[in-house]
């Protein structure tokens, strides 16, 4: 792990750690919690062949949709892309491979990797066709679907408030997948609007303990303005 005092870095240096072909988790449900500044830097640096794991595909022209539109994403693991007609088109045209899970199952698959397990057994979707073959295991006279944990090489997360060690606090509904992804990826790059000295945050209010964060980048609030417009419909 990165030493506590060495986590704060630049957006360029943090994103330069990501190679083409990497598997990336990206926080956010719609715009809140989406690490827009990290994603824009990833767009600028040019990595491609990416596998992205995100609840949704953002909306056209912002966030991960920019990467999809630029042809840099080969595979998307998600729950719902209904607010992004561009992503749906890319999927229908066969240019983007999309893997879809029920939202809570996607969250649990990620959390399961974060907890260090192989997988879990669920009854969600057992009698419906969710489009994915799943191994079923009989326990106590019933069948259960095995959902393997979902990990990633990197997680890109967004926090409203943090300290220099990488303790994160999410604002409003911006938590969503962020704390789960921070546990599940080998290397976690967090962006934060506000970075305080250690000791500034009340310990019981920390959502993601700094142990899970590898690198921290301070970004201006203006970096999320695209997302704000997108939801102000």
């Amino acid at each position: 792990m990165t030493r506590l005092a060495q986590k704060l870095t630049t957006v360029e240096a943090a994103i330069a750690r990501i190679p083409s072909g990497a598997t990336l988790m990206v926080g956010g449900f719609g715009s809140p919690g989406t690490p827009f500044a990290l994603l824009d830097e990833l767009l600028a640096q040019g990595q491609d062949g990416l596998t992205l794991i995100k609840n949704d595909a953002n909306e056209p022209g912002i966030g991960i949709s920019r990467l999809i539109e630029a042809g840099r994403v080969s595979r998307l693991i998600t729950s719902h892309i209904g607010l992004n007609r561009v992503a749906i088109e890319e999927m229908n045209e066969g240019r983007l491979s999309v893997e879809i899970y029920p939202q809570g199952i996607l969250a649990e698959k990620i959390r399961c990797a974060g907890a260090g397990h192989y997988g879990f057994l669920t009854d969600i979707g057992l009698e419906t066709d969710i489009g994915m073959p799943r191994r079923e295991i009989e326990c106590e006279g019933r069948n259960w679907a095995l959902e393997p944990a979902l990990r990633a090489d990197f997680a890109l997360v967004h926090a409203g408030l943090s300290d220099r060690y990488g303790n994160l606090i999410y604002n409003g509904t911006a938590a969503n997948f962020n704390p789960l992804m921070a546990m599940a990826a080998d290397e976690v790059i967090a962006q934060s609007f506000q970075v305080e000295e250690p000791g500034a945050l009340s310990p019981t209010t920390v959502h993601t303990p700094c142990a899970f964060v590898s690198y921290l980048v301070q970004v201006p609030m203006s970096s999320s303005e695209q997302g704000r417009r997108a939801h102000a419909v």
């Binding site: 449900f29 719609g30 715009s31 809140p32 919690g33 609840n55 949704d56 998600t78 729950s79 719902h80 892309i81 209904g82 607010l83 749906i88 879809i100 899970y101 029920p102 939202q103 809570g104 199952i105 969250a107 649990e108 959390r111 009854d123 969600i124 979707g125 009698e127 419906t128 066709d129 969710i130 409203g160 999410y170 604002n171 409003g172 509904t173 911006a174 938590a175 969503n176 997948f177 962020n178 704390p179 789960l180 959502h207 999320s224 997302g227 704000r228 939801h231 102000a232 419909v233």
Partner: protein
């Protein structure tokens, strides 16, 4: 012909009891938000991680980090809590949401629901619908009785891929309120001005109608 959404909303609002925890699906159900009086002390759950959301008043400052699962800006009511997606769905799967309202493409006589996929036409993903349908104690469907071509949506058996089997408790359309019972679909209320014959004609499913007990709305 646009269907009568107001009739559905007003009727659906009567399904909510004071002090309940309620989830509102995307589309028509999300408008129920405006039909819940503050004094009812109802907490609205959204999959993206909030219990106790309420709509922003037009003159209220927007917190851009506060949306519901449909993407609308919201704020909190007293007693609200914010949490991550795994906690949000634990709440759903453990039956801690009292009632959820959803739209539908098709519903049938045994309470099967199809509302997430039209093969070859529409497949944006599952979102939270599957877990809500499968696990919430009471699922109330709010939809037009017929599609825009006039075809029935209340069917003998669903033809589209299911969201969940045998999950629906009650169906509220612009034409009728129907309960899923072991005997089949039982009509509770008929829309004002509609005859039993007109209702049967607009419906593929068999309907159990006891004219002496049916109400109107």
């Amino acid at each position: 012909m646009p269907y009568d959404q107001q009739r559905i909303l007003a009727r659906a609002a009567r399904e909510i009891e004071p002090g309940q925890i309620v989830n509102l699906g995307i589309g028509l159900p999300s408008q129920l938000f405006n039909y819940i009086p503050d004094e009812a002390q109802v907490l609205v759950h959204s999959e993206n991680g909030i219990l106790g959301g309420r709509p922003c008043h037009p003159d209220e400052a927007i917190d851009y980090d506060m949306i519901d699962a449909g993407g609308a800006y919201i704020t909190t009511c007293p007693g609200a809590s914010l949490f991550d997606s795994s906690m949000s769905f634990a709440m759903i799967r453990r039956g801690r949401v009292d009632v959820t309202f959803m739209g539908a493409f098709e519903v049938d006589e045994v309470g099967n629901l199809a509302n997430w996929k039209i093969p070859g036409k529409f497949s944006p993903g599952i979102g939270g619908a599957m877990e809500l349908a499968q696990k919430v104690r009471r699922l109330v469907i709010m939809c037009s009785h017929n599609d825009k071509h006039g075809n029935p949506k209340i069917l003998h058996r669903c033809r589209l891929p299911l969201t969940a089997p045998r999950c629906v408790s009650r169906i509220i359309t612009d034409k009728a309120v129907m309960d899923v019972t072991p005997q089949g679909l039982e009509v509770v209320d008929i829309a004002e001005g509609l005859s039993i014959e007109e209702l049967r004609a607009a419906t593929e499913a068999s309907l159990i109608i006891d004219a002496s007990r049916v109400g109107s709305y």
